[in-house]
């Protein structure tokens, strides 16, 4: 229990105040800025890794794709043990008739692969043969155990192209029509297998079915490419705005003042200058994956150069290049154009939707977002001090930015490369300058984007 003495000491000491030197705050400020910067870098790295991991996971495990593979896998699993009986080998047509889902699957496969008409003319013939051959080696899951007389009657004699396939010209090019008990093989490729002995097919169903597997894998292929975008950027006052920062209250500063205490403008106040767009560009690498016939996702690593132009007066400091972030300042008199450079590292993640889906020339709509980190800048910040000045203080600029992107592009696709060109825009969602006076807040970029993607060579 505190006695009077302790109470007296406490009350007396409560009034003790010692004024710290100015260095203390400078050191505190420096340390918390450093710490904030470190946390941002860490956050940026973590965000990037998570984003890339999620993108990769999403691309690989999208429902449509995994369903496709699992369907094929399930057909294989179910059919493989029973295909050892030779009578099933002749029932390819019937079986395919009874597997509408499988035919549907093949159609989906074709569409998803984005096979062009030129490519499909020969490739589809083979596909249809392969599919029919593989069907010939398979059994329906619902099929009774090879014992129905109907199936037995078709044994070794009848091949009929199923009606489903006949509706599909691309799949109707196969020569598998046999009704006279003899093998009429138009294609020498098929004669090696079918003509020799149907039982040969049924003895190796796994091998035959697995012919379809590389087709499926082709859909999963990644493309890598180069992305270059040239355009212009400016800093807007509001998010999602194409309008630069306007200073309606600038006149309040520009009125002549009675102040005659020196300064760069001899007594007149100058408001912040308007800002203009400047040349900007983006360049980097991207990876792309087609997740369906119509859609694909892209992720990458880009270097982004953005810029903005303002008007400033004469430099008020002789030691601009001394390295101090706050040493250089310029009068706000609108005499010279000053280009502010911003260097970012950006991790974009975007979704492309194409139309039409089965063509090697098509349009796409793009939407996405990106995280970017401001690596360095020479930008100036306006302040009303000293009759209006622009000064350097990098601590006032937000390092970590999030952007919304959009655009459209025209694509020309060949067997190994894909070229795309089109307009692109991105809105910054993060405030750039932490200043109450300087109203420039959000970056806007508009440009013409060019992408070239390369397919990985097929090792087949």
């Amino acid at each position: 229990m505190a006695s009077e003495f302790e109470k007296n000491v406490r009350s007396t000491m409560d009034g003790l105040k010692v004024h710290p030197s100015a260095e203390v705050w400078q050191k505190v400020e420096q340390r918390i800025r450093e710490n904030k910067r470190k946390r941002r870098i860490l956050f940026f790295i973590v965000f990037s890794l998570i984003g890339l991991a999620l993108a990769g996971y999403g691309i690989i495990n999208l429902p449509g794709r995994s369903g496709l593979n699992s369907e094929v896998a399930s057909v294989r699993t179910k059919e493989a043990p029973k295909n050892s009986t030779p009578q099933n080998s002749s029932n390819g047509a019937k079986i395919s008739e009874k597997i509408p889902s499988y035919n549907k699957l093949i159609k989906t496969q074709k569409a998803a692969a984005g096979v062009t008409r030129a490519q499909s003319s020969t490739a589809n013939k083979r596909k249809s043969r392969k599919v029919n051959r593989s069907n010939g080696g398979e059994r329906l899951p619902e099929e009774p155990n090879n014992s129905t007389p109907e199936i037995a009657s078709h044994k070794k004699t009848d091949f009929k192209v199923d009606s489903t396939n006949s509706k599909n010209p691309s799949l109707n090019n196969g020569p598998l029509t046999r009704s006279d008990g003899q093998n009429k093989i138009a294609d020498p490729l098929d004669s090696k297998i079918i003509g020799a002995n149907d039982s040969a097919i049924s003895k190796a169903p796994e091998k035959l079915i697995s012919v379809t597997k590389p087709q499926m894998k082709n859909q999963n292929k990644w493309k890598w490419g180069i992305d270059i975008s040239l355009g212009a950027s400016t800093i807007t006052q509001d998010a999602f705005s194409f309008k630069g920062a306007s200073y309606s209250d600038a006149t309040a500063y520009s009125a002549p003042s009675s102040a005659n205490s020196g300064g760069p403008t001899s007594g007149a106040f100058y408001g912040p200058s308007g800002n203009n767009a400047a040349f900007a560009f983006k360049a980097g690498f991207q990876i792309k994956n087609e997740i369906s016939a119509r859609s694909s996702v892209r992720a990458g690593l880009m270097y982004v150069y953005l810029a903005d132009k303002i008007k400033v007066g004469q430099s008020g400091s002789s030691n601009q290049s001394s390295g101090s972030s706050q040493s250089a300042y310029y009068a706000a008199t609108p005499q010279n154009t000053y280009t502010e450079h911003f260097h970012f590292i950006e991790l974009p993640l975007s979704y492309d939707w194409r139309m039409p889906r089965n063509s090697n020339r098509y349009f796409s709509l793009t939407g996405g977002m990106s995280g970017s980190y401001l690596v360095s800048t020479n930008a100036l910040v306006y302040d009303t001090a000293q009759h209006g000045i622009y000064y350097k203080d990098n601590s006032l600029f937000t390092r970590m930015h999030f952007n919304l992107m959009g655009g459209t592009a025209y694509h020309v696709s060949t067997t190994k490369t894909e070229f795309a060109i089109g307009p692109q825009f991105s809105f910054d969602l993060t405030k750039l300058i932490n200043s109450d006076v300087d109203k420039r807040k959000y970056f806007l970029y508009v440009g013409l984007e060019t992408r070239i993607f390369f397919e990985k060579a097929n090792r087949k």
Partner: protein
């Protein structure tokens, strides 16, 4: 600007708000740090470390007590860590287990200015100084002090009694014009 808004802005890392918070508490907190150290420079080092901790852990402040008290606790903890870490203080921060020192129940009225009293407290040996600060001014119990310094509560009591007696003897001999009228009640 109320503390809530100020804190909110500080958490958003707004430089102006951070500066404002610092200026609001810097003088008082340097007074706290000053009592635990032997030089202004050391006190400023503690203040600097303490404010860095304050800014980095503002999100943990639950608005349950006064902001000043919360910052003060951080400063005290920072000061204790500084004393343990700094060689000049660490060597003198040894607390030998001692028998209880008889407590002098004098309650002299203190007519000194805060600065003068602080100077007297700072002249105590570092161990005494720390325990006196913690118990008499910060209001920590001897059990809490024992936990903070890694000593027994008995040792803390003993050290405090000695520090108190020494300080009172100094106060009684302090050249204040009217001290005889107020001391020794």
């Amino acid at each position: 600007m109320d503390h809530y808004k100020l804190l909110k802005d500080c958490i958003k890392s707004k430089p102006n708000a951070q500066r404002q918070l610092y200026e609001l508490f810097a003088d008082t907190m340097l007074g706290v740090c000053y009592r635990y150290t032997k030089s202004v420079k050391d006190a400023e080092d503690v203040l600097q470390e303490g404010f860095i901790k304050v800014f980095l852990s503002l999100k943990q402040y639950r608005h349950e007590g006064e902001l000043g008290a919360w910052i003060r606790r951080i400063m005290v903890t920072t000061a204790l860590n500084f004393l343990k870490r700094n060689r000049n203080y660490r060597e003198q921060m040894y607390f030998p287990p001692e028998h209880l020192h008889p407590v002098i129940y004098d309650d002299p009225v203190i007519m000194l200015e805060a600065k003068e009293l602080a100077e007297l407290i700072r002249q105590l040996p570092p161990g005494y100084q720390t325990i006196f600060n913690l118990h008499a001014i910060e209001g920590y119990s001897h059990v809490e002090i024992g936990e903070l310094l890694g000593i027994t509560d008995g040792t803390s009591r003993s050290q405090y009694a000695r520090a108190r007696a020494l300080l009172i003897s100094w106060l009684e001999n302090y050249p204040v014009a009217n001290k005889t009228e107020n001391y020794g009640k």
